[in-house]
């Protein structure tokens, strides 16, 4: 198997553990997104794969070759940096050709590679300019192009879109996805933006405090989050997480509010997770007093109270419900997630 293989990768700075044993198999052509809040160790993991950060312990294979101790240039990787890191005094053409030249590729051949990559990214007209003359979006394309010409075993990208405005970000996201499918190479992509992760990834690796929380396809982590942290991090708007007691087959939410519990668990107190989009108005159900209404066009987001719990519900467009109203909300038992109170671990229901 080509691609890359991370085996118990670990990074410590003195007493600080930045990354704690990441295990991950990346197959050829797979797009893996490292996702997590700021400071969780995403960049450190990526930089260990790149060779810019030494590996404290563990093993790294790229293309079935042990590269744990090799210099970046000997690892067959290409990297896109968050701030682009283009050489300011070189033309775009020279920027893109630099890596090829350093590897001793003959000039004509290098020029052909650059032209090909430039064509693919639609930056041919920029080749003779310098980075200072480009917009942020154009620099981003050039940074991608510089990685692309190299044709490495794996592409490494560290928050490549975080400096772009929202519109451009969405467009570049689509382009990166298309590009990656087209060239069919492995890609490790770091972001803190769950939308980016959901839309791009073949598989998402969710990290927190240097530890991997869950690895799975976007829908897997959305449908069956491994713990309450993942449940809260994936999905927008955020999943509702409520404390509840289980008694007589019902989830008691307090203040006389209750709902039927999924079969299975025999715990007393749990954390209940319900996605806002899994709630809908009904003739009877949870009494929901509305405190805020956000119209998004095709959908409406309600913010309000159920008993003493704050709750968000996202429904199809509703024009006739306003602040101060009380409606009933229902959800299907299969959309209810349960988590252990202490550990936050998912409690499997009977179907899983």
């Amino acid at each position: 198997m080509a691609g890359a293989s991370l085996k118990k990768l670990r990074k410590t700075y003195g007493n600080v553990i930045a990354v704690e044993g990441v295990d991950l198999e990346i197959s050829d052509g797979e797009l893996i997104v490292l996702l997590g809040p700021s400071g969780c160790g995403k960049s450190t993991t990526l930089r260990m794969v790149a060779g810019l950060e030494s590996i404290s312990s563990g093993q790294l294979l790229i293309d079935d070759r042990d590269v744990t101790k090799l210099e970046p240039k000997d690892r067959d990787i290409a990297m896109v940096f968050q701030n682009y890191a283009l050489y300011p005094h070189k033309t775009i053409r020279a920027n893109m050709a630099f890596g090829l030249k350093m590897r001793g590729m003959e000039a004509g051949e290098a020029s052909r590679c650059v032209n090909e990559a430039a064509e693919m990214l639609d930056i041919t007209h920029l080749l003779d300019r310098k980075p200072g003359q480009l917009s942020g979006g154009q620099m981003q394309r050039v940074a991608l192009g510089r990685a692309l010409v190299r044709d490495p075993a794996i592409f490494l990208l560290d928050e490549p879109l975080s400096n772009l405005d929202a519109k451009l970000r969405a467009r570049m996201r689509e382009e990166i996805a298309l590009l990656q499918r087209r060239i069919g190479k492995a890609m490790l992509y770091v972001t803190h933006d769950q939308t980016e992760a959901m839309t791009l990834a073949d598989r998402i690796v969710i990290m927190r405090d240097g530890q991997v929380q869950q690895i799975g396809s976007p829908l897997e982590v959305y449908d069956r989050p491994a713990n309450a942290f993942v449940a809260g991090f994936i999905g927008s708007p955020e999943m509702n997480l409520l404390a509840a007691e289980i008694s007589g087959g019902r989830l008691i939410l307090g203040d006389g509010v209750s709902m039927s519990a999924p079969e299975g668990p025999n715990l007393k107190s749990v954390t209940v997770g319900i996605r806002p989009e899994a709630l809908e108005p009904a003739s009877e159900g949870l009494p929901f007093s509305i405190q805020g209404v956000e119209q998004l066009g095709s959908q409406t987001l309600f913010i309000g109270q159920v008993g003493n719990h704050r709750l968000r519900a996202m429904t199809g467009r509703q024009d006739n419900i306003s602040v101060g109203d009380t409606i009933s909300l229902k959800t299907s038992p299969s959309s209810i997630h349960l988590f252990e109170n202490e550990s936050g671990m998912r409690i499997r229901n009977n179907e899983e």
């Binding site: 790149a50 060779g51 810019l52 210099e71 970046p72 240039k73 990787i77 290409a78 990297m79 940096f81 701030n83 890191a85 283009l86 050489y87 300011p88 005094h89 070189k90 630099f98 890596g99 350093m102 590897r103 310098k130 200072g132 003359q133």
Partner: protein, 286 residues
């Protein structure tokens, strides 16, 4: 009130410049058109006569050449060594801050002290360098006696004194180069030497341009090291334009010739600086 503030300050500035800079400079230039045997005697107008005499004298061209050699070699050595030290001091190692402080020390020393210390260290009978060289079986060097050795000595002292300026300026410049550029270069497969030529040097080119200009003008006009060590000798081997001008005016009491030499030196510098700006424009096209 505030209406007059700006014109007021400008006027004060202009007057100060006229009185303190332009005035004396013009006065010095004007002296070159007179024959003045001493500062108290009456000047006699001689036109461009002094220039003709100076330009046709061998000692002027000798001094010009010595000045170019002295300024040129000290700049090259200062820049090369300064950059080398800056690169070393930019590495991570124990005691780095201490060493950074120490390397700046020579720059703080008064020239007189440095020169006297050097003379004392190479003293023919009890200088530490003389003794050490003798112990290691090296041939004795007459630091200020032969023509080549004298030039070597004044260059050595000057480089030792003023390299810290280049080191410190370049070291400060190094801190402004984004780390990511070096990381990108590492991924691209460039080793330390290529990183220096492809990233460090181009990024610090503006700083380097200014350093060479400032040090160049400074070294071309620098009097004290040579005056305090060789006084221009032996046989004019280290005499450059400032020493010659000084000697003419204050040792031979030919103030007109001294002023003419100073004026010519100024013109030469002005032409050199103009050419320099042509070759290395300060404002780089982005």
């Amino acid at each position: 009130m505030t209406r007059w503030l700006l014109p007021g300050f400008l006027t004060v500035g202009a007057i100060a410049t006229l009185v303190l800079i332009v005035g004396p400079a013009l006065y010095a230039v004007s002296l070159s058109f007179y024959d003045i045997p001493s500062l108290t005697s009456d000047p006699v107008w001689v036109g461009l006569n002094k220039y003709a005499v100076v330009l046709s004298s061998g000692e002027f061209w000798n001094a010009m050449w010595n000045g170019i050699v002295y300024a040129g070699l000290t700049i090259i050595l200062q820049v090369v060594l300064g950059i080398g030290f800056a690169l070393i001091l930019n590495q991570k190692f124990v005691g780095r801050s201490l060493l950074r402080g120490l390397t700046f020390l020579p720059y703080l020393l008064p020239t007189v002290i440095a020169v006297l210390t050097f003379k004392w260290m190479v003293d023919g009978s009890f200088g530490i360098i003389t003794i050490l060289m003798h112990e290691w079986g090296l041939p004795a060097v007459n630091w200020f006696e032969t023509e080549a050795a004298s030039m070597f000595s004044v260059i050595l002292i000057s480089v030792w004194l003023w390299t810290p300026f280049v080191t410190t300026t370049f070291l400060a410049g190094l801190q402004t180069v984004p780390v990511q550029l070096y990381e990108a270069a590492r991924v691209d497969g460039a080793g330390p030497i290529r990183q220096f030529f492809h990233i460090t040097l181009p990024m610090l080119r503006p700083i380097l341009t200014v350093i060479v200009l400032l040090r160049g003008v400074w070294m071309f006009n620098k009097l004290d090291v040579i005056w305090l060590t060789t006084g221009g000798g032996p046989l004019g081997a280290t005499e450059h334009l400032p020493v010659l001008s000084y000697r003419k005016a204050f040792a031979l009491f030919d103030i007109g010739s001294g002023a003419a030499i100073a004026t010519l030196s100024f013109l030469v510098l002005m032409i050199a600086v103009t050419l320099y700006f042509r070759a290395f424009p300060m404002e780089e096209v982005k």
